[in-house]
Subunit: 345 residues, 4 copies
Amino acid sequence: MVKVGIVGATGYAGEQLVWILSNHRYSKIEFLSTHNYAGIGFHEIYRNYSGFIEDKCIDLDQAHDSLENIDVLFIALPHGKAFKLTEKALSLGVKVIDLGADFRLNDKAIYESWYELEHTAPSLLADAVYGLSELNREKIKNCNLLANPGCYPTATILGLAPLLHHKLIDVSSIIIDAKSGVSGAGRSASIASLFAECNESIKAYGVAGHRHTPEIEQELSRLAQETAVISFTPHLIPMNRGILSTCYSSLKATISTEELQGMYKDFYKGEHFVKILDILPETRWVRGSNLCHIGMKIDKRTNRVIILSAIDNLVKGAAGQAVQNMNIMFGIEEIEGLKLLAMAP
Amino acid sequence: MVKVGIVGATGYAGEQLVWILSNHRYSKIEFLSTHNYAGIGFHEIYRNYSGFIEDKCIDLDQAHDSLENIDVLFIALPHGKAFKLTEKALSLGVKVIDLGADFRLNDKAIYESWYELEHTAPSLLADAVYGLSELNREKIKNCNLLANPGCYPTATILGLAPLLHHKLIDVSSIIIDAKSGVSGAGRSASIASLFAECNESIKAYGVAGHRHTPEIEQELSRLAQETAVISFTPHLIPMNRGILSTCYSSLKATISTEELQGMYKDFYKGEHFVKILDILPETRWVRGSNLCHIGMKIDKRTNRVIILSAIDNLVKGAAGQAVQNMNIMFGIEEIEGLKLLAMAP
Amino acid sequence: MVKVGIVGATGYAGEQLVWILSNHRYSKIEFLSTHNYAGIGFHEIYRNYSGFIEDKCIDLDQAHDSLENIDVLFIALPHGKAFKLTEKALSLGVKVIDLGADFRLNDKAIYESWYELEHTAPSLLADAVYGLSELNREKIKNCNLLANPGCYPTATILGLAPLLHHKLIDVSSIIIDAKSGVSGAGRSASIASLFAECNESIKAYGVAGHRHTPEIEQELSRLAQETAVISFTPHLIPMNRGILSTCYSSLKATISTEELQGMYKDFYKGEHFVKILDILPETRWVRGSNLCHIGMKIDKRTNRVIILSAIDNLVKGAAGQAVQNMNIMFGIEEIEGLKLLAMAP
Amino acid sequence: MVKVGIVGATGYAGEQLVWILSNHRYSKIEFLSTHNYAGIGFHEIYRNYSGFIEDKCIDLDQAHDSLENIDVLFIALPHGKAFKLTEKALSLGVKVIDLGADFRLNDKAIYESWYELEHTAPSLLADAVYGLSELNREKIKNCNLLANPGCYPTATILGLAPLLHHKLIDVSSIIIDAKSGVSGAGRSASIASLFAECNESIKAYGVAGHRHTPEIEQELSRLAQETAVISFTPHLIPMNRGILSTCYSSLKATISTEELQGMYKDFYKGEHFVKILDILPETRWVRGSNLCHIGMKIDKRTNRVIILSAIDNLVKGAAGQAVQNMNIMFGIEEIEGLKLLAMAP
């Protein structure tokens, strides 16, 4: 039984973690820590747990003091907040799975440039493993510090990996136009996230400057074995959950849509969570699940390939992949706690 | 292992059944029958099943011929379509759980008056058991023909039962104002159910004439041991799932909100799926689950009680309760396959 | 040309006022005052005005100093904030239209009991006119202080007035179950109003305690010429705009639905903004307009009448009716600036 | 007074036409023709018109017979249906504004290839004018047959025109990722457009094959004076209205975002309906209006420019631009009937 602590438990990703772990047979939540709701029952914030999970949340100090009781610490905090906690946990032999961005980028300077703050735990970067489970499984098995990928990077990198692996595209031509539901903006009171401000509208944000850009570039470069500089444009969609990443790039070879689908099916052969579709994905078919649906189309007129990749931003894009990684790190069957399919409608 | 057949598998309630049963450890789906999609893979209609449930649907004739292979038949068809199938199944010793309305009303004449068609299997009515699990558990255990309650009746009757049991209200004063998500209208192509016609609007429908009225009255009358004639007004809400039933009635006694909550908690003591809240329910906290959340308020100024009852119309209001009933009928633990809580947001 | 000042211009009702008045031929906005955005261009908060209305907002002190330049002051502030401003404006001969609750209730004690604060301008209450335009037109013509009705009261009172006028119902039997879009919660940053908290859910709030209750009771009592004590339950619906008020009461006479529709059509004969439908109303058909759609149904089984009344909460329920009242107060054609019908879909 | 006939009046674009023209001071609707609702009052289909526009719809044959009474015919039919009607109207001296695709492509062969049907009125193509009002105003003034642009092309071409005019981009690099509300799918009963199928999801459709592709290419090529072959990917968004077109292309010159904004402001100087923003557009700020909001960003890292262009698909993307074109064709002030700004929220 893996003993788990969660810091940032009342954010949307944190709550999703609680949800998944409460259906996981080989883990046990030891504490739920939160910045704003210490002393309050978890079910008073998320009423779906009424009668089921009614533990009182603890604050961050109490979390620090409770690290000795756990095997793994999930951190679901804003960037810049994980440094000290991670250092302490690791020093106590507690494995860390950070759902934030603090250990995703290998290069301290790139982190500091994009996130505009000092990285105070740079010595940990060398050993942090980027937890895109399907692509990095071997390294994940033995790591102590796992950097759980961002939501947009998860969808995008899974979508582009086979193209890069087979060197089918011009790496400099990659354009990623991504769309996310509003839960991606987090659970903090802001006018921009109000129902009446988001509903019945769509907008782009962070154009040419979103912080997931260097993360995607780092991993695509690794896969391509050359430096990838990409365009990445996220959009906000009036729905609770879901990411669709539409990726464009120029082909270096001639290939049909069907051949490419075959290549993708081979690449992800045996993967439980990645499904290659003969049609185009829709986020509703993965909502609430840890699955990634990938569809594709070759456009002969422009000699471009368009890849469409859909995930649930809170599951495969956050808490679900975090649990998948925990399973890998602790030798548990990888799909434990993650078997559910999307519920329609 | 209970062998299951599903007729009407591609409607929203039918699909929800498939979803739940695919997470049920002691049942096995033998066939999926459908009116419009025979010969087509189930995953081609519901893409969430791609790579998991790819069985071809069969037509109704094939379903008739396959009844001998199953232990229980779930029927999720429009009213008036279950008569023959039920007769045949029962004659073969197959238990029947009808999610439609054909066996819910004890009185043939009332059925024919409200549904405006002839009931051709009236001899079965006497043995049909109304499957509101929490209120009728003993009868359900041994029944062969289970009439699964309608979505509005489930929320409403669970909400009002303790009041009637304790004879706290004037039965003639009951007014039920209910609200449902659009999945309640079913998965058939109609202009009235188009996104652009339902979104950003609310309406009442079936005022003073909705077919769930006699069903609610029948069960409330049974509980009250006197004839209940009610006002029932359903409304359509721009959301996929969820029912909130707001019930008003005049008190015959003086009681505080807290005392009433205590009385409700006693009434539903030990029930896994019914939770009495100290606050008001919201449908999001039960969405996707088999739970019913009930809140209440005494209005001293008017001497009325207001009961608010929330369910997921496709789960506790249809497929979930159907599986709960199957579990009871087959001696399986009642919560098997139904342990999930609502996923937020 | 009526010179207008608006205080609270950046809330949803305030902005709607700006929108309507910018299409009004005989008024001119002199200033836009706001608590949070003083010094900022109105178009920087509401981008729909980019290139059209780019005036800088002023703060409340500046608004006080600008009262001499205007003919009428619209106040769209939270309750309790209008007292001083109103006193000063009236003393300068400026007419006041308060969209808040501070002058709606005739009785200081009732105000203080429901709003839980001291009413510091009680001497103004006697002269304040309750601005339900269709029912109070003559008094509105000559008033200096107009209390613009709340959104729920507007829909509800218009829906019930003919019944009370004709003494058709038992006043003690009135139950009002109302539903509103999220803009009714205002434009302040709160977690409860976030998209991901409101979307895909419905809830009741303020059960047996909402502050619109005494306002509705006051006006229904006036119409009925007897004291009305009502049950009023508002609900929050995942849509931007719209109110549907479903009203139940017991009939004292026998009347058919058709006869009642005829009676309503007579009562509202000649009214531009109130339409009696032969079918049931839907909020989408009045969204963005100053119209009120009323439908009805006699339920013979229970001898109750069900009235359904739909408005746009920000237009007829706030800014639209405020402009309608301004038109009446200044002798302008009543429909000026308010001719638009709902835009579908 | 321009006498107007509308064919296809009960589709979403047709209804929007009726709405706009009912607020237009110099036009008069002579007939409303419809395929499915002949003999039915327009207000019975669109209840927002109850009490205002209650004319009975006529069928297509009656429309043919009524052409002599009008000055201009608006056709809002599916592609392939406008040929005969246009020929007859023109022969009678009636100007035609076709909101469909039948006269947008100059080249009969391209039309037939993309729309997969025979063009039976090719002789009219030479004189048809592509009605992107801001770019083609002079030709529109004197034309008799106006091909009203598609919704995606309107947003996209307005967004890219200045770049092409100034030869700033590599024409072969253009990628257009567009997003539309569900009203773009039209008002026909289809399961794919049901609320419960579209809500809480996003998908791409028509990837590398959407029929707006050749239309966009034709006009971009004209502007660029070289052949443009583009990638165009539309997506379906769970909202009623709105299009956001996100356009990517590689720069041939070095220019800053601010310089480019200045260039765009010059290009659209004096245009009432096109606004160049210093921030990023959101569809809610143009919803219900005839405006196009354009924002932009230079990505120095990739040397690409990203243009974001937002319109209301039913107004500037259909009926609004059609009326704008009518105004130009008949010498009416161009903004007549189109002065409204977006209503928020």
